[in-house]
Structure formats: C-alpha cells, structure tokens
C-alpha cells in the first residue's frame, strides 16, 4: 500500500513507544500494520534524517550484541508534531468514513 506521506508520522509513533534502531522501526511498522504497510527499507533512513534535521527525533549510539548501532528517540517537539498529526489523521479518516459509509 502507498503511504509515502504518512511514513514520518508512523516513524514518530513507533519511536513514541520506545527508542529503537532503523531495522526495528521498519519491522514494527510492518508488524503493527499486519504487513499491509509494506515499504522499501532504503527510504526509511532519508525520512529519519529529515526528522532529525527538523529536531523531531535525535540519534544516539548504543551497543547491542557487541555491535555499535545507531538508534533514534523522539524529542519533545516530535511528540507535539505526533499529537497534531494524530488529530489530523482522525479527522481525515472520520470524514472519509462518513463518505464511504454513505455509499
């Protein structure tokens, strides 16, 4: 399913649960959507960099199984944007449901 514009919001939502690294973010989005939201994982990092440039997420290094990995966590500004995006999405989906429900 094409959800290009929603990817940053989904990343913020995933990171709002807990900080994690890129691969885990991709897997969580796929698992939580039961495989419906499948996307090319190479496009995840540009989205993460954009969020980082905007100050919505921050990256840090951590050790996992003897390997240094770059992980990401949501910032306070990121939580604010996520709350706004959630409201917008709720309103949009209610509006679309209202129209589709009439058909």
């Amino acid at each position: 399913m094409n959800f290009k514009g929603a990817l940053p919001t989904l990343i913020l939502e995933t990171l709002a649960q807990q900080p994690c690294h890129g691969y885990a973010i991709a897997q969580q989005i796929k698992e939580r959507s039961r495989g419906v939201l499948d996307f090319k994982e190479g496009t995840l990092y540009p989205a993460l960099h954009k969020l980082e440039n905007e100050g919505l997420v921050e990256s840090f290094e951590e050790m996992e199984n003897g390997r240094t990995r770059r992980s990401y966590r949501i910032t306070r500004a990121g939580r604010g944007v996520l709350a706004r995006d959630r409201n917008e999405w709720r309103e949009l989906s209610q509006a679309v449901n209202a129209i589709l429900g009439e058909a």
Binding site: A26, K40, E41, T43, Y45, H49
Partner: protein, 217 residues
C-alpha cells in the same frame, strides 16, 4: 563487487564524503540485521542476502531521497570554500563607515533626484530608482554589521527581507530592460540566486545549531 556494494554506490552518488559514509554505515548495519533475521527464519546465506537487498528497494530512489536530506558533494564544497565568519569580519570599523557613507550618499542623492525630477532632462525616474535601490541594498546588506542577526528567528526575518528585495530587483529589471538585454540580468543576478538557492538547500539539511555563522545571513 557484491550486490550490496553496487547498491551503496548508486545510493550514495553525488553525496558528500561524510554523507556517503553515514549512509554506508546505516545501510550496512540495516542489511546485516535484515540478513540475520532472514537466516533465523531458515533462509540460506545467499537467499537471506537477496531478501535483505530486495527489502532495501531501488537504490536510485533512495539516492534521490538522500540528496534531499543530506549534503551533496557540491554543497559540502560550498561550505568548505566559504568558511568565513561574518561576526568577526564585520567588526572592522572602516567597513561600517564605508557602508554608512555610501548608503547615506545614495539615499541623499536619490531623494534629491526625486525632488528635482522636473529639472532633470533625461531618465530622472531611472536615476532616482537606481540611487534609491542602491541605498536600500547597502542598508540591507550592511545591516548585519550593525545588528546581531545570529539567532534563527532574527536571521529568518532578515533572509525573508533580502529575498523579497532580490525578487523586487528581478521584477524591476524585467520591466526596465528590453527582453533582448535580459541576458545581462541573468549574468549579474544568476550567480547570486544560485548561491542563495544552495544556501537554502544547506540550511534545510542541517539543524540550526550546527550552522556556521555565515549561513545565518
């Protein structure tokens, strides 16, 4: 050359050395995690590698997205070659006097030309316009010498004013000059606009707290 190496070469095309290294590190890390997961699910080493690579998607598409958010080689070179510190350079008193003198002189002459319009036989409007615009340009470009603009909010307002001024100059130039001479406009304003475009792109790609001082202007 491995398939992953080919993918990385395409995905990092035109990126700066630092950006390319960053992409390489994160994709290699991602690829290793993805490959391990596939092997845990029973795939052979080769199959797992193919699956992990397929999951990354098109390297060209990734490259286009990376170039929108990470510094390209050209932008990194721009930053390296223009590493001046306006805060230090603008402290020279003579520079302030120079700008003030010519700014006031241009404004004074422009106002005089405006008042004396009927007395001037040829091109009074053009002369007045050029003098007043010169005064505004000197005021605008000299402003950072007198006011500290090195905060994100102040610099945003300043840049918006300067961009509006540049657009005014372009529009006035298009009106004042014949189409056959527009090439003069493109030659004189083109480099300035190109530099402005590059700086806008760099600002978008870097958090404000990492900007060198000259990017605030």
């Amino acid at each position: 050359m491995t398939d992953l190496e080919t993918w990385l070469k395409r995905a990092t095309r035109s990126l700066s050395i630092d950006s390319a290294a960053q992409v390489r590190a994160e994709i290699e890390e991602h690829f290793a995690a993805s490959r391990e997961a596939a092997m845990r699910d029973g795939a052979s080493g080769d199959e797992a590698g193919c699956q992990a690579l397929a999951a990354l998607g098109d390297a060209g598409a990734a490259n286009r997205q990376y170039r929108r958010v990470l510094l390209t080689a050209r932008e990194a070179r721009y930053l390296r070659e223009r590493g001046w510190n306006p805060e230090a350079d603008y402290r020279h008193g003579w520079l302030r006097w120079f700008v003030s003198f010519w700014g006031v002189a241009a404004a004074g002459a422009g106002i005089w030309a405006w008042i004396a319009k009927p007395a001037l036989s040829e091109g009074p409007a053009f002369l007045t316009g050029v003098l007043l615009l010169s005064a505004v340009a000197l005021g605008l470009y000299g402003l950072p010498m007198f006011v500290s603009l090195f905060t994100p909010k102040r610099s945003r307002i300043y840049r918006a004013m300067r961009l509006a001024f540049m657009l005014c100059i372009i529009i006035l130039g298009l009106i004042a000059f014949k189409p056959s001479t527009w090439w003069i406009l493109s030659v004189t304003l083109g480099p300035a606009l190109w530099a402005e475009w590059t700086r806008m792109s760099i600002r978008r790609k870097m958090p404000a707290d990492r900007w060198p001082k000259h990017l605030y202007l």
